[in-house]
């Protein structure tokens, strides 16, 4: 698998969540994603970037455009050095929040992606990688 381009967006505050949305939108358009595919990955990115701001003390979003044979995809990696998540299964459940959100960010981002990996532990920060492939529902 080839990574044809990589971009890193620093995420420290609410305005950066908007910047992540724009950068992901642009990468999705460049890969020829359909409008619905663009909207799904941008929405997932918005949720995960906001989580880094709200819970992770800020972090980075890495945007990778992937070429795998004739497949094209977008991989997004959200990494922060915040407090981490003690019970990941619980955090993924719809409606679970320790803040004032709707508890749909993690579960929703997983549903909106084709691949979803989460690596988090108390004191170790949080790393979430999601991938969407063009043309896959």
């Amino acid at each position: 698998m080839q990574t044809s381009s990589t971009e890193v967006v620093q995420v420290g505050g609410g305005g950066d969540v908007v910047r992540v949305r724009h950068a992901v939108r642009k990468a999705a358009i460049d890969l020829g994603f359909s409008l619905v595919e663009q909207t799904k990955i941008v929405t997932a990115a918005s949720e995960l970037a906001r989580n880094m701001v709200d819970y992770g003390g800020g972090g980075t979003t890495t945007i990778e455009s992937l070429l795998d044979g004739n497949r094209k995809g977008l991989r997004l990696i959200f990494k922060d050095d915040g407090p981490g998540i003690a019970d990941v299964q619980q955090a993924l459940r719809d409606g679970f929040t320790t803040g004032s959100g709707m508890g749909l960010g993690l579960g929703g981002a997983r549903r909106l992606s084709n691949e979803f990996e989460i690596d988090s532990a108390p004191g170790k920060g949080t790393r979430i990688a999601i991938t969407r492939w063009k043309g896959i529902v």
């Binding site: 609410g14 305005g15 969540v17 908007v18 949305r21 724009h22 939108r25 409008l35 619905v36 663009q38 909207t39 799904k40 941008v42 929405t43 918005s46 949720e47 906001r50 719809d94 959100g101 709707m102 749909l104 960010g105 579960g107 929703g108 549903r111 909106l112």
Partner: protein, 129 residues
């Protein structure tokens, strides 16, 4: 931070969101709308989201909260112009927006709200002020 303008037309407030809002801008809009509903005794709120190409759980919650708040203040809310790709994505995100009235475009939305405006009791109540 940007501030989204709110227009007053008769007993209705009209907002057309033309920028990708950060969370602070969305909260400010919600607060401004609530304050203006009270100040103008508005009976209807129309929110045009046709220019929004993303609605995530935060903006979705802001729309739902605004509608709920307006309802308590005796005003109806109509959200108009949601892009089909946004609607599809919201379902998968898990956000139903059940409590929110929606219409295809501003014209249809205004028709819905005009219906409210025409209720005779409201017209009478208004004359007393």
């Amino acid at each position: 931070m940007e501030r989204i303008p709110i227009l007053k037309l008769g007993k209705c407030l009209i907002v057309s969101i033309q920028v990708d809002m950060d969370d602070g801008t969305a909260i400010t809009l919600q607060d401004d709308l609530t304050e203006k509903i009270v100040r103008h005794r508005a009976k209807g709120v129309l929110i045009d989201i046709s220019a929004l190409d993303v609605v995530d759980s935060f903006i979705g919650r802001m729309l739902a909260n605004t509608a709920a708040m307006a309802h308590v203040l005796d005003a109806e809310t109509v959200v108009v112009g949601m892009q089909p790709s946004v609607a599809i994505t919201l379902v998968e995100l898990g956000l139903s927006l059940k409590g929110i009235r929606s219409a295809l475009n501003i014209e249809k939305g205004m028709e819905l709200l005009r219906g409210i405006d025409d209720v005779p009791e409201l017209a009478n109540a208004d004359e007393q002020h």
